[in-house]
Symmetry: C2
Subunit: 327 residues, 2 copies
Amino acid sequence: MKILVIGAAGMIGRKLVGALVRRGHVGQQDIDGMTLVDIVTPEAPAGFPSARTIAADLSAPGTAETLLADRPDVIFHLAAIVSGEAEADFDKGYRINLDGTRFLLEAIRQAGQGGAYRPRLVFTSSIAVFGEPLPAEIPDEQALTPLTSYGTQKAIGELLLADYSRRGFVDGIGIRLPTIAIRPGKPNKAASGFFSGIIREPLAGMEAVLPVSEDVRHWFASPRAAVNFLLHAAEMDSAPLGQRRSLTMPGLAATVGEEIAALRRVAGEQAVALIRHEPDAVIAGIVAGWPQAFSAKRALALGFAAEKSFDEIIRAHIEDEMGGRLG
Amino acid sequence: MKILVIGAAGMIGRKLVGALVRRGHVGQQDIDGMTLVDIVTPEAPAGFPSARTIAADLSAPGTAETLLADRPDVIFHLAAIVSGEAEADFDKGYRINLDGTRFLLEAIRQAGQGGAYRPRLVFTSSIAVFGEPLPAEIPDEQALTPLTSYGTQKAIGELLLADYSRRGFVDGIGIRLPTIAIRPGKPNKAASGFFSGIIREPLAGMEAVLPVSEDVRHWFASPRAAVNFLLHAAEMDSAPLGQRRSLTMPGLAATVGEEIAALRRVAGEQAVALIRHEPDAVIAGIVAGWPQAFSAKRALALGFAAEKSFDEIIRAHIEDEMGGRLG
């Protein structure tokens, strides 16, 4: 079978490609072709030298058609302008996140005309489709009320995915990712960065800044869990989804205090001592409007699974990013 | 003030224009300019001979910019390809209902660059944004799960309206209209047509076909109530909406049996005798998935009002369409 990964150079995209190469199959079918696309040329994966790697802009006319030339059986669409950039550059956000997704769906529909082409499309959405006021535990039936252009674009992507699936043009599944923690790599400017930073930096013996109070509660899954969501979405029977094609993924609701307690259990008091409390009213204000917990009943019933404690999330980071050993 | 009505030749559009001319003002401001647009040239309203009437396709590049030339203070966007046609012609539905709405929002944004132009935009959405499974009474927080391309396009319009409003480009209000009953005019092929037909035809001494059972329950408001929703949306303070810019309008939950009982009270047994029961499994199947009732708490709290009995709906029809007298 043939796989297309759009957004293959990003953090989740790279991990997904690595997992696909290690497994060698999706469902019962061996992977015999792989096309990896991003705005910069993705790395060709070791162990799968025949992968096609392409630098392309999905929002440019004709790009989507080119990517479908070999009629991939499974398409992972992970490409997006992230929240902060979509807010700063209104046109770019709509062009990539809305037009790009619509061009892809439309190219799939056109490719299917007169034939039996109807690929599985796994689309990454986000809990940014929800915005306050929200209940403490958000049910699967909650209205999408995004408070960012990024969340708006993801919510529109979900609606298009459902309609194109209902009409039989594509077999789409949208997965709303929790906040991914612990993100590997360097600290970044994202408002959510500290959720990862206060664990990642101390584990590496470095200081980290905590800009909010310890009772802030949020919804997490590890990068490893995110990759497993994507693989499960590619393999599962889509019939039980009915017409509701997007699912809030399971995750772990944890407070910053619970994060820190897990860090203490895994890495001791000397790691916790590296967290510097430096309250930032702006970040605290942004984070105050974020979802705290979801029921995720549908996704759990359909076999999606995430970590059950922050200790597990930290251990996944140590195993996957630190070679299994604390610095 | 200047008013722009897009979709002015439709049933609600014509009634809205008539009401605007009779009142002569919106809020505290007199109406001194009116532009009426539809895909066919709308009639110039008696009593407002200076109205500009234009035949134009909102989905054609440049149309929206032209319509904004005199910087209307209030814009009513009622234009849409209806449900059946958007289902039959996928491209046309997306072009008019999605691209048309987006072009309008984008033209408003561009017109506002560098100035203080930020008009009130009243957008008609629909309860078709909801699809089964649904609770018996649908709350304001219910997820939008359309089961038609039309409903999908309206839901996307709501999301765009909210994001463009949040960003300060427009002062938008989306109103989700109930099923309008009693629609004046001739019977049509819409699956919902019988809800109006079983009252309208008998009131005029004609036979009507009822294709579903009397326990079918649905959500209604009169054309008069719909026009009042639009006027209230144009006049109200939008601040209490916060970031949730679309509202399910109040209406009346009534079964077909309750409709018939109201007809009996208003027009007697001889009118009811004109209803011929002719079960149609296809129509019954379509209607079975439709919403039955809404709480509409937010809209009620914001001053929107609809009929409280089907007798009222019938009387509004007799007053507005039959000169106040039964045939």
